[in-house]
């Protein structure tokens, strides 16, 4: 059974990675792949979004499949499916090769309750409109960490090695590297080197989660994972995979506890904790005297579930409830942050924050790498939600990929036609920096690139005076706020390489309460 479980873990991890790699433009306007499938089947995402936004979406039904299977099988998802669980298993495996110092080496049953408190905190927060699930939900966390942290790093590393090989101009090596890199670009690697703000931070946090496996096997899954906690609660009474220890046969060798992936304490007999069991089958596989069987039964086979202590649960819930208004305090609530340009299709900011789980799918799929994780622009509540940074990448006029991958409807699915009518911000010239205004030279790159029908940036032939006082004719660009959709290509392409002569800010976005230009 152990090998069957490992096979399942590998298959699902590979599947997850395939979907991850496919979360990129692959030649069609519509992504042919259900790239966000894992998020769709995630009950924590569904539940927190539902609680926070008070809106039921059809896509949440997928997660009911996971719920039903968990009722029957327990936390099989953690043991057999979850990609982060598999990564944790893999890292734990490295640790478990060393010799244990005592029978329960690496087991800290008292830490098990942490994840339930985290879950309680998240769900109570959600009830009051703060959707914090995505920070710690394993699917969302993994996609975000890979997309923003690891993927750019891997891309950069492979590219720099192959670029170096290409630059050597050695026959055989140089063309080989060229061919390989051309092949990898757009297949396994990103089409262009992705660059993300907070890349190191987000990669580091994920590395810490993986590193925790050296403290205890699957530390994250055992003690921290809120999805694991939720599935544990749902699957407490699972009928098809109950661990039973035969008291007569058991020789108290602790081998089962030492190999238990969930710290579910099969030993001593009767102390097995169903909510902690990841259905990994290690215990029954390793028992030297075959005292352990995993079988379907309606009878209780253990009473080792975590005592959550009601007062601590209530305290946690209260803390969450009180923290909601506090995390919302911030300068962004006094005035909208000018840099907070949301992707087209993003719903009203308040509702957006209730739905967005910071999974990073939209940032991964963004063609131009313009969607970046926020830091403080949307407050703590909106940390790591997407915003367009036009200097890094603009919003491609004919693209709506970000709205296709959003799992919670924070970014609504729009047709291309609808998307092209959405204003995400407004461009305005900084005439102290704009070349034709400040330097008396023609430029017009912004006008050239403006995709809005009729052009939101127009030229006017104006008579100006040069430094010697001589008149000359110059084309001076002006923004038509009625046509500007805020896509940011003007700012992106502005030749002033640091602070551009034209800047897009969030003012005038379609979803704004107040319009500058009426």
């Amino acid at each position: 059974m152990k090998n069957l479980r490992r096979g399942s873990q590998i298959i699902f991890l590979v599947f997850f990675l395939i979907l991850f790699v496919q979360t990129e433009y692959k030649g069609e306007d519509e992504l042919g792949m259900p790239v966000r499938l894992f998020l769709d089947f995630d009950p924590l995402i569904a539940l927190s979004s539902l609680l926070a936004s008070h809106a039921v979406r059809a896509v949440f039904l997928f997660s009911l499949v996971t719920v039903v299977l968990t009722v029957i099988l327990g936390r099989f998802f953690c043991g057999w499916v979850c990609p982060l669980g598999t990564l944790n298993t893999a890292v734990s495996f490295l640790r478990m090769r060393r010799k244990p110092k005592h029978p329960d080496d690496g087991n800290f049953p008292r830490l098990r309750k942490i994840k339930y408190f985290i879950l309680a905190f998240i769900l109570t927060g959600a009830l009051f409109g703060w959707n914090a699930a995505g920070f710690l939900d394993p699917i969302s966390l993994t996609i975000r960490s890979l997309a923003i942290g690891y993927n750019p790093a891997v891309n950069g590393l492979v590219r720099s090695i192959l670029d170096f090989a290409y630059m050597t101009n050695i026959p055989g090596i140089s063309p080989g590297a060229d061919t390989l890199l051309s092949f990898l670009t757009g297949t396994l690697l990103a089409f262009e080197q992705p660059v993300f703000r907070q890349m190191i931070t987000i990669a580091f946090l994920f590395s810490v989660i993986l590193g925790l496996n050296f403290l205890a096997p699957r530390f994250w899954c055992r003690y921290l994972c809120p999805l694991g906690a939720l599935l544990g609660v749902i699957g407490t009474k699972q009928m098809f995979a109950r661990v039973d220890v035969d008291k007569g046969k058991c020789v108290s060798c602790h081998t089962c506890n030492r190999t238990c992936q969930g710290d579910a304490t099969p030993f001593p007999p009767g102390s097995w904790a169903s909510r902690e069991c990841l259905v990994c089958f290690n215990c029954s596989d390793v028992c030297p005297v075959d005292a352990i069987s995993i079988h379907p039964t309606l009878q209780s086979t253990g009473d080792g579930n975590v005592d959550l202590q009601r007062r601590w649960l209530i305290t946690t819930a209260a803390a969450a409830a009180f923290s909601v208004p506090i995390v919302r305090l911030g300068e962004h609530n006094k005035r909208p942050h000018p840099d907070l340009i949301r992707p087209p299709g993003a719903i009203n900011e308040k509702k957006f924050l209730q739905r967005c789980v910071k999974c990073g799918e939209c940032m991964k799929v963004c063609l131009t790498n313009g969607l970046q994780p926020t830091l403080a622009q949307a407050g703590l509540e909106g940390l790591w939600t997407p915003m367009l940074v036009p200097r890094l990448g603009y919003c491609e006029y004919n693209c709506n990929l970000c709205s296709q991958v959003c799992p919670t409807g924070a970014i609504e699915k729009l047709t291309l036609e609808e998307k092209q009518a959405v204003r995400i911000g407004l461009a305005l010239f900084d005439k102290n920096r704009c070349i034709p205004w400040a330097m008396g030279r023609n430029c017009g790159v912004c006008e050239e690139h403006c995709p809005a029908p009729g052009k939101a940036i127009k030229f006017f032939d104006v008579e100006a005076v040069n430094k010697n006082g001589d008149p000359f004719i110059i084309k001076r660009p002006e923004v038509d706020p009625g046509l500007c959709i805020g896509c940011g290509i003007c700012e992106n392409k502005c030749p002033i390489i640091d602070i551009p002569g034209i800047r897009v800010t969030s003012v005038n976005e379609s979803r704004a309460e107040y319009m500058l230009y009426m």
Binding site: T185, T368, E396, R441, E448, F459, K475
Partner: protein
């Protein structure tokens, strides 16, 4: 006899609108034998036939391509726009040119452009990737590693990053599309060469005419075929609504980029430029540099109508 004809063609070239009028039966005009001209204009609804005819009027593709050549074909693929929007070179023109080049014995044809919008989307939506590959060309994306700094020896562009495969190619064929451009009024063959360079190209706009003349002098395309099947008359260079697109059903081919550009300008007579070459400083700059002549209707001009 010869002098009269020259005069006649000068008059002819000056007014594209006149040339387009149904009363003009250009097809029935006496023609010079193929191969003795250096500026061919073919009008007709079948773009592939027009390209073939124009090339044969110049003496056939064999005249420009040697057997075993690596040929770099440079259409305009700059924008994520459909062929109907006339922001990118007509894919039929690209396809026809690639097959002519291969038929003339070229070893390899590379079709590529340094795009403004996302390269994958532009290559796809313009229809150029599919058309060029169908005809047998390689259609690579211009990757950053393949731009190498070169001495261009220009007036303004001293040193710049040049696409290696264009640099290494034996021949360059330039396939611009005729369209409006906010800054330079029109974009034609010389400006199209900006797609062969990398770096911060947006800096070039401050001295655009000088820069594109420098590029033309550096790359010296062996043949230029102007796609004016559809032209974009306003809101260029990427266009948006089909209202700005006019069907011209015209192909012009020449080895002289200045003639091509001067002719291209004449297509926009009703766009308010009034054929005034003074509005297009790159023409006179290029002439001064000896890259060609703006008198496209002079000796060596021939225009016919197909279908």
């Amino acid at each position: 006899m010869m002098a009269t004809r020259r005069t006649f063609f000068k008059v002819l070239g000056a007014g594209a609108a006149w040339a387009l009028s149904p009363a003009t039966k250009l097809g029935s005009m006496p023609t010079m034998p193929d191969g003795n001209i250096d500026f061919a204009v073919v009008r007709g609804p079948d773009a592939a036939a027009a390209v073939k005819k124009a090339v044969s009027m110049l003496g056939g593709m064999e005249k420009f391509i040697d057997k075993g050549d690596v040929v770099f074909v440079k259409p305009n693929i700059s924008w994520d726009r459909k062929p109907e929007q006339a922001a990118t070179t007509n894919p039929i023109v690209v396809e026809t040119v690639v097959s002519l080049v291969l038929a003339a014995g070229a070893k390899k044809v590379i079709v590529a452009d340094n795009t403004c919008n996302d390269a994958r989307r532009s290559y796809k939506r313009s229809g150029i990737r599919e058309a060029a590959e169908k005809a047998g060309a390689e259609v690579p994306y211009m990757e950053a590693r393949k731009f190498i700094k070169k001495d261009l020896g220009g007036e303004v562009l001293k040193q710049w990053e040049v696409y290696r495969e264009a640099e290494d190619a034996d021949k360059i064929i330039n396939l611009p599309v005729a369209k409006h451009h906010g800054l330079s009024n029109v974009t034609l063959s010389m400006k199209n060469l900006m797609g062969l360079i990398g770096g911060r190209r947006d800096l070039l706009h401050q001295k655009l005419p000088e820069c594109i003349v420098d590029l033309t002098a550096y790359f010296k395309p062996d043949l230029t075929i102007l796609d004016a099947v559809r032209i974009l008359k306003a809101n260029g260079p990427q266009g948006s609504t089909l209202k700005d697109v006019v069907r011209m059903d015209t192909i012009a081919a020449s080895t002289d980029p200045v003639k091509i550009d001067a002719f291209g300008i004449s297509l926009f007579t009703d766009a308010g430029f009034d054929n005034d070459l003074a509005l297009f400083p790159h023409i006179s700059l290029a002439e001064k540099k000896g890259l060609g002549t703006s008198d496209f209707g002079g000796a060596g001009y021939q225009e016919i109508k197909l279908g």
